[in-house]
Symmetry: T
Subunit: 141 residues, 12 copies
Amino acid sequence: MSKLIYVLNGPNLNLLGKREPEIYGSETLADVEARVRRKAATLGLEIEFFQSNYEGAIVEKIHEARERAAGILINPAAYTHTSVAILDALNAFDGAVVELHISNVHQREAFRHHSYVSARADAVMAGFGTLGYELALEHFK
Amino acid sequence: MSKLIYVLNGPNLNLLGKREPEIYGSETLADVEARVRRKAATLGLEIEFFQSNYEGAIVEKIHEARERAAGILINPAAYTHTSVAILDALNAFDGAVVELHISNVHQREAFRHHSYVSARADAVMAGFGTLGYELALEHFK
Amino acid sequence: MSKLIYVLNGPNLNLLGKREPEIYGSETLADVEARVRRKAATLGLEIEFFQSNYEGAIVEKIHEARERAAGILINPAAYTHTSVAILDALNAFDGAVVELHISNVHQREAFRHHSYVSARADAVMAGFGTLGYELALEHFK
Amino acid sequence: MSKLIYVLNGPNLNLLGKREPEIYGSETLADVEARVRRKAATLGLEIEFFQSNYEGAIVEKIHEARERAAGILINPAAYTHTSVAILDALNAFDGAVVELHISNVHQREAFRHHSYVSARADAVMAGFGTLGYELALEHFK
Amino acid sequence: MSKLIYVLNGPNLNLLGKREPEIYGSETLADVEARVRRKAATLGLEIEFFQSNYEGAIVEKIHEARERAAGILINPAAYTHTSVAILDALNAFDGAVVELHISNVHQREAFRHHSYVSARADAVMAGFGTLGYELALEHFK
Amino acid sequence: MSKLIYVLNGPNLNLLGKREPEIYGSETLADVEARVRRKAATLGLEIEFFQSNYEGAIVEKIHEARERAAGILINPAAYTHTSVAILDALNAFDGAVVELHISNVHQREAFRHHSYVSARADAVMAGFGTLGYELALEHFK
Amino acid sequence: MSKLIYVLNGPNLNLLGKREPEIYGSETLADVEARVRRKAATLGLEIEFFQSNYEGAIVEKIHEARERAAGILINPAAYTHTSVAILDALNAFDGAVVELHISNVHQREAFRHHSYVSARADAVMAGFGTLGYELALEHFK
Amino acid sequence: MSKLIYVLNGPNLNLLGKREPEIYGSETLADVEARVRRKAATLGLEIEFFQSNYEGAIVEKIHEARERAAGILINPAAYTHTSVAILDALNAFDGAVVELHISNVHQREAFRHHSYVSARADAVMAGFGTLGYELALEHFK
Amino acid sequence: MSKLIYVLNGPNLNLLGKREPEIYGSETLADVEARVRRKAATLGLEIEFFQSNYEGAIVEKIHEARERAAGILINPAAYTHTSVAILDALNAFDGAVVELHISNVHQREAFRHHSYVSARADAVMAGFGTLGYELALEHFK
Amino acid sequence: MSKLIYVLNGPNLNLLGKREPEIYGSETLADVEARVRRKAATLGLEIEFFQSNYEGAIVEKIHEARERAAGILINPAAYTHTSVAILDALNAFDGAVVELHISNVHQREAFRHHSYVSARADAVMAGFGTLGYELALEHFK
Amino acid sequence: MSKLIYVLNGPNLNLLGKREPEIYGSETLADVEARVRRKAATLGLEIEFFQSNYEGAIVEKIHEARERAAGILINPAAYTHTSVAILDALNAFDGAVVELHISNVHQREAFRHHSYVSARADAVMAGFGTLGYELALEHFK
Amino acid sequence: MSKLIYVLNGPNLNLLGKREPEIYGSETLADVEARVRRKAATLGLEIEFFQSNYEGAIVEKIHEARERAAGILINPAAYTHTSVAILDALNAFDGAVVELHISNVHQREAFRHHSYVSARADAVMAGFGTLGYELALEHFK
């Protein structure tokens, strides 16, 4: 039986491919979802793909994952730096957690260098563009 | 006529009793609500019991309390450390405010030592477990 | 054809005129909206007026503005100091942005001296009371 | 057989009810002792009640408690913020420890926001006035 | 009888329109003075317009305003960030004070984010270009 | 009837004139007491002169002063920088308080630049040597 | 032959007695000068009394003192906290230097707690009101 | 023609598999090299594999890469946090740079949270164990 | 004639061997005293052995040493981190001073990394257990 | 035609050779001017030599240089560390700027380690004594 | 069979006895080695004595010790404060580690107060001069 | 007899002229050496010219200079900011030391604003390009 992985995307990622393409590239989030699903198929993983601009909605999606998922791949976007609530939700999740950023956040404003999520994530990846989603999935194999 | 107290619970507290029981104990939030209601009855208090994972929903519940409640007992959970919006909502509330944490936040990560809510709360309590809800109610007598 | 300006208001501003009138004055948000609409008419501007207590809702309103508006006048209230998500949404908006605070935030608590939004706003205004909304509109002429 | 609880009070608390009544109320320390003893009786607890202005005397009283007491309820007053010696003494005590402050220290000067004692206390309570002593006793039940 | 407003300009503003036009625009200080006088006329205000590169001269101009003016509109330029003397002079002035910056200082070097003057100013405005002088005058109506 | 002034001296001042004379001069504390008493006589003041190396003893002497003295002249020595307990005791005293240091503490180690006592003292004096005691007494006239 | 003492007063002190009398009292600087001259006469000191709102003017007055004066009594006012130039000028002066503040600066804003001048002053005095000028003169006897 | 990638390993990585296996796993660096070479073959990449405990040797290996390599995959180990020399060498390299850490450095001591190398790296990866080397290679495809 | 060495022990050391043996070992302070006396005999040193929980008592014991002792071996325990009074007392002592900690304080909480006493001690030793007392004595030979 | 270089000297430099010769040497500013003029002649440069103790006067001299000079050699002395106004004036100057300090400021008080001027200067030189003026001129060749 | 102890010395210690004798004394490193070997003989220890100015060489010597030595006595000199690589190497060593400094580093520049090595060392000793090497050996008995 | 000067160059300077020419210019280190030798000849100085990427090698070259050289001109490059070992080596050198940076380090990343070497250097120079080497030599005349 295949493992279920939650792929969670934070605020403004619904604009992917539409804003600041020099930072984030021109693929849309739908493109990313397609890539992720194709890659998952080759790894024998199932995918629940989700995006929200609401901190509370992401918290609740993580709660849902507790009963269903073997792992969470999360791109917390802006909530990386400000959300203790998402950290606490992840702390209540027993599976593997991978944190992903499309751009290299270490080269942007200083406030983007700190991540609450990293304190819980098993692995962290930044700057690999949308390819990162595919690479990160291999962690769950 | 009995006084109405709002008992507000922040993000992830819907998981109470289900996550990290060595920190939070094994009682569920429903158990806590039952305890709170029993205790309130002995003190002649009425209870409005609420939990949300959304910062905005907690803000609006506090607005609602402005017209109805004599006091607010709030366990802001993760929003303790990040929400100026909840502080501002409480600043617009005239009654008594008690802030409660189930665990002793002072013994956890450094970012949990700061509370925006404490700047408004009349009293603060941490580490009494779920018994704290009952003790805190006495403040509103 | 007149230009469309989004006037966005953050958490607790629905209480305007009802809380701490010594800081915020006694006009309600509806009064402000009326002032804004009257002033806009004289400047040949159209107005979309919006308030929310949810960070996610404000983020999504800014997304909506990307397709429709020439400018955003935003009073982010408490989210000024805590929301990277709103900053990121504004970074994805191409038009003019003005940040407004009714009171002089520089005279309040130290945490209110920092604004994430100012890093994107073209202009910032604080302490002009509700008159500030009218003055700020002139920036979009 | 009833459990023995040490109730320890730090510097200047002998002035309780005589200084700054707007902060500390008008009850004297003798009044507090009476309340504590009445409450303890209802809980089946015995009380050793003590106050000193000397850091060394409080340290030694905690040493004494090691052999005799099941718990310590301590209002360290000014030594909260400056005494590593009291922290070390409490670290050498095996029973339950509750830290209590009559006023909400989080609303006073910044140096009062840090407590050495909280690193050892099982629970902390501030701002409940002298009622706090009674509430805190329930922790030892 | 019309009210007298002092419009005070700090160091280097005599170069306005001559230096870094991409930041400060191409209007000269004389152009600004003309705009200010025209706008003042429509508001029934009289103007005393002044610029100095000397901290002491600005301090003394503020002293002079104490006897004569109903308000001060000040662009302290570099002294914004370094002059306690100007703050103290403004503290001795009873009328309304508006602080103005032509560019959005929050987007420049970190040391430009702090203003001594804001601690006294009733209102602050930055990034509106030279239009800001006109808008600010409306505060004194 | 003459006013009573408490002249309180903190730790190590019993060594005055015996240690580091290049910093503290060669007068002993007894010499200082004699100077103080002579000067007080000319000002119509009575003196209670006290020195202790115990923080608790100084706290209690201040308590005693509450009932008896019109003012306190205190050289808190090392406790200047570390004692919240002495600050709290002085906060409970209603009369005038002058803080005195024999040497100019601002020119010594950085930790000597901060004084808890200054938050309560009406006046502060440092570097006047033992003459400072005489000068400070004039404040109580 | 009597010794000459320069009594230097920094910015805004020309307003003494006219601004914020609850902080600075109601005596004018002319009243202070008169007090100083009377006191100096009793001590056999001559006085050069000076006030300026210009940092440069105070620097040059200190240069002048190098050839003429045995001591400097300086109330640097706002320049206390911002002027390295005055510190450097005092470093080039060989006589005694006393720094004086009328109010207790340690109880005002944090930026007023640091003095560049204290690094050079032999003695420092704050909070004695205008009486401080007389007391400080005794240091030069 | 295949692209050449330099895979550089910093101090103590020669001990891989021999020290702290609970953090770093039980594979040796030779095992990693074998994995890397196998993976590179599938991607059409050539590999230069290198480890040194000397900062200077790593700097010089990067210089060598300037003429020969299309990319650098570097696990700087301890030098991540202390070497500006390696950063400067990488700044002089024109190809792609990926920074890799076997463990999640964000969960270790605070000094391990800062990386000089991240300021130059195009992408960063931490916590994927030795699998990370394979994943990172895909960036160079 | 043999030299006299004062061996001073700070707060809670009277519990040595009774508390936290995994940190401090199982020897009591009496055991340590016996070791110290035996070792001193072999080195031709005389010993005054003292422990107190009172900062003031330690200060006074150091004063006593000024007339009698050639050296001080001090384990200031908690007062290491908080006592300027003990530092000042040691500054008034002319002989050799050795500071000793039984455990390696550098591996405990951050506030234990700073020692006021080290600013005066000629030598410092931590983590040698009770053997450290013997080793330190050799410094006085 | 020879190039004109402004050589500007900040506060207290008129005392050069007269104060603290162990730091600044025994040459006077007139000596320095003579050296500078001799050296300039050999390099085909013309010199405008200026000193002021007034920040405003230095600002205005820099304004004057905008129309006339090819370069500015500035020894800002105390204003190095405190003057944003001088930085802003230099920002409005298009030619080359060299910052010079006679002593090595990096070895003096910490506040002398920061220079506002360095943010604009093309080159900086400290500790070469008055020879530095000659060396710096070569930059303008 | 005797135990082998590695005695490792960091950069510049080859100059011992040749530089700054007022800080480090006049014994050379060869003298120290001789002392260490004599003392070791009395304790039944064997010694490997090593000095290097290269961080990498010290790292590799510690690797070598992993297979051979029962303990490491290390004087890391300048690398104390800057080398994470040495800390990591020591973390991979299972035996006892003692850190030694000849002078009392706590009385030198602030950057010398922090030691990376102390986080791993079992014991630390500073200020005992070259005698410290002998004392420290006793730890390995 | 001519004086010998060591000209030492830190890591990555072997790439001079080959990397980031917009910052460092297009001259190679060999070109610089030629310039230095020509200039030295005119000043009657002999030159030992050296570059290394190894901190340890630079330390040892400074040791060598102790016996042979009258002065050291050092461009420590990246080790400026990280090497206490080089500082300590220079502290053991008795001759003159000049620190040189080709670019103005004060305008680059914040970590480049601090220099360990400046604490020992007699003079410091930055931003004069490769001309700086020639200018600096004049210090040794």
